[in-house]
């Protein structure tokens, strides 16, 4: 349904005059209808930029974006609104995503007013219906965001995102600002409406456990590249790329009997202004091979189980 081909996004850097920040470097993703694709990575890996670019919130520098096999790359930055109603976004912090001076009714009604002819009582009815889908009673219609808890606000944001019956939802860290007991409820709810409304998710998160729980496919990003993608079970059960392995090992588990000390990944993520030669990960990689990994771009290898890995080991 949604496909990106060699997507590049770069920004002009003010701090480094004339230099470009290469946030996304040749990302090729494919989402089938009904998929939940988890995009994981650390800060600065470009996962949010990919999500925003797909919705036309950032300019595309290179590559293409296809939606139902139609090239929409040029449309993305244009005034054509028809695509926007088919793909919506849910942001990390529900508090700053809602206008504090608008009632919940007005916030959720906004996309409906812009894209449909619904007005008056019919509009209010539709909003009440949407709130019911996300598990909020009609009494919330006339409340303001500050009267709601974090979890309730995120439900409102989801109601607004599904108002136009989109096919695709880009969820950018939708539960990172929430407590775990609330996060659990939102995740359950996201899974159930995905089935009920036949939605496709691009789920951006740094929390590996959350992605494993919600997504059927996973793509791991590092410095604007996808280093590994495939079925969620395969990636978590048997990670191939050294970065994926290190990332999984770094997650502390909520259970007893773990060794206190380990061999954490050394160093910091390099700057996207000055990307390493060859494999972007070779500066921190344990299995880096001098002369091979630091020379020339690394091709993507397809493994037997259908997963794609960008590493010289395979």
């Amino acid at each position: 349904m949604l496909e990106t081909v060699d997507l590049d996004v770069s920004f002009a850097s003010r701090a480094h005059k004339g230099a470009k920040i290469r946030a996304v470097n040749g990302v090729s993703l494919k989402l089938e209808r009904g998929d939940a694709l988890g995009l994981v990575g650390e800060s600065g890996s470009g996962k949010t930029t990919v999500g925003r670019t797909i919705l036309g919130l950032n300019p595309v520098t290179g590559g293409r974006v296809l939606f139902d096999d139609e090239d929409i790359t040029d449309q993305l930055m244009g005034r054509n609104k028809s695509f926007r109603s088919r793909a919506q976004m849910v942001f990390q912090d529900p508090h700053s995503a809602l206008n504090p001076r608008m009632t919940i009714l007005r916030s959720v009604a906004e996309p409906l007013v812009l894209h449909t002819d619904l007005r008056g009582p019919a509009l209010r009815e539709r909003v009440a219906e949407l709130l019911e889908i996300v598990g909020l009673q009609a009494q919330f219609l006339y409340r303001f965001p500050h009267e709601l808890s974090g979890g309730q606000k995120q439900r409102v944001c989801i109601a607004r995102a599904i108002a136009l019956n989109p096919d695709l939802l880009v969820l950018d860290e939708p539960t990172s600002a929430l407590d775990v007991s609330v996060q659990a409820q939102i995740l359950e709810f996201l899974k159930s409406i995905q089935k009920r409304l036949g939605l496709t998710y691009l789920f951006i998160s740094h929390n590996l456990a959350v992605v494993r729980y919600v997504c059927n496919r996973t793509a791991v990003m590092y410095l604007g590249q996808i280093v590994e993608q495939g079925e969620t079970g395969a990636i978590f059960g048997d990670p191939k790329h050294p970065y994926t392995k290190a990332l999984l090992e770094a997650v502390p588990l909520p259970k007893s009997g773990q060794p206190r000390r380990g061999q954490p990944l050394k160093g910091d993520i390099p700057s996207p202004v000055d990307l390493p030669q060859g494999c972007f990960f070779h500066t921190r990689c344990e299995s880096s091979m001098p002369g091979i990994c630091d020379a020339g771009p690394v091709p993507v290898t397809a493994l037997e189980d259908g997963r794609l890995v960008r590493c010289r080991l395979y």
Partner: protein, 336 residues
């Protein structure tokens, strides 16, 4: 049980006076930490975990904060009874603290070295040893501390400004600064929450190393149960200003007793396996301006009984130091 604990908080009650009334932030907090061990305090937003530790070093302005009762015992002294001058001698040299966002706690217009040297010289003055320390000696000590926390290239990085360092490096600088007064107890308030997982792993590894090698005692505040399970010896779970369960990692993660602890553990997606359903905990925190008379978790508790609404559950001692504040575990013969 007459032995003096290294660090303990007993029946600690703290209120905030607000325009809306008296906010009962902490209600009878009980904690204990042995020398050379690490204690994790976990809980969700608003449970009082940060408030509990802030006042160990007298960091809450009063008003609005108001200690109602209790004591904070550190090597036999009650920290709540100290004068300002006495507290200043404890800060940094006996007990040190690091915080969540390292950038907020470093001054952006001074180099790392300048800030560290100031701290080191202030510690030396407060120790009253009478020996003078030159800036040069302090600088050497600072470099040594930076090396201790494995900051790469400490001789050069000491002259860096905070913005030139990454988040992980800044947190290392703060830890180095905290260690520079050779404290016995380190309080870390969400030290890795602002960091990525691979960097978090580095910092947690460093904290574990300090406990093992220097015999440092640590109180670690976090909302991440995984972090606690990884680095701590003991855990206290807090809810709405109370410690609801306290025990070792094994006791708490293998056999959680309090319904809130169990609810939390059933709310986290398992990073290792395919959990099929997440329970979550429905409902909201009680309003602490007017807290319930009985158990503060009663309204959200799946096991709530009649007595829970009326009587505040006392902390019950289970086997091996495991404590839980819940009526479910009260022996039958006690009448509520």
């Amino acid at each position: 049980m007459t032995e003096q604990p290294f660090f303990a908080i007993r029946d600690y009650r703290l209120n905030f006076r607000t325009f809306d009334g008296v906010y009962q932030a902490l209600d009878g907090v009980e904690l204990e930490l042995e020398r050379g061990q690490s204690l994790g305090i976990v809980g969700e937003t608003g449970c009082g975990k940060s408030v509990t530790v802030r006042n160990i070093l007298g960091l809450l302005p009063s008003p609005p904060a108001e200690v109602v009762s209790g004591e904070i015992l550190f090597e036999g002294r009650d920290l709540l009874m100290l004068s300002k001058a006495e507290m200043q001698k404890i800060r940094g040299t006996e007990i040190a603290m690091i915080f969540q966002d390292p950038m907020t706690y470093l001054n952006p217009v001074f180099t790392v070295g300048t800030q560290m040297i100031d701290v080191i010289m202030a510690h030396r003055r407060s120790l009253d040893r009478g020996e003078r320390m030159t800036r040069k000696q302090a600088r050497e000590h600072a470099i040594e501390m930076l090396r201790r926390v494995h900051l790469p290239n400490p001789e050069r990085q000491i002259d860096a400004y905070p913005h030139q360092l990454s988040g992980g490096m800044r947190q290392r600088v703060l830890i180095a600064m905290a260690l520079s007064g050779s404290p016995k107890l380190l309080i870390a308030d969400e030290p890795t929450t602002a960091l990525d997982v691979t960097i978090q792993a580095q910092i947690l590894d460093l904290i574990a190393e300090l406990v093992d090698d220097l015999g440092l005692s640590v109180i670690l505040i976090t909302h991440d149960l995984g972090v606690v399970a990884k680095v701590c010896d003991k855990v206290a779970v807090m809810y709405a200003g109370q410690v609801v369960e306290y025990g070792t990692i094994e006791q708490l993660f293998d056999d959680p007793k309090h319904p809130y602890t169990a609810g939390l553990l059933h709310s986290i997606p398992d990073p290792e396996g395919a959990a099929t359903h997440l329970e979550g905990i429905p409902g909201f925190l009680p309003n602490l301006l007017d807290p319930p008379a009985g158990c503060r978790f009663e309204a959200r508790c799946p096991k709530a009984m009649d007595v829970c609404r009326r009587v505040r559950p006392p902390a019950l001692d289970l086997d091996g130091g495991h404590k839980v504040a819940c009526h479910v575990y009260r022996p039958e013969d006690v009448n509520a």
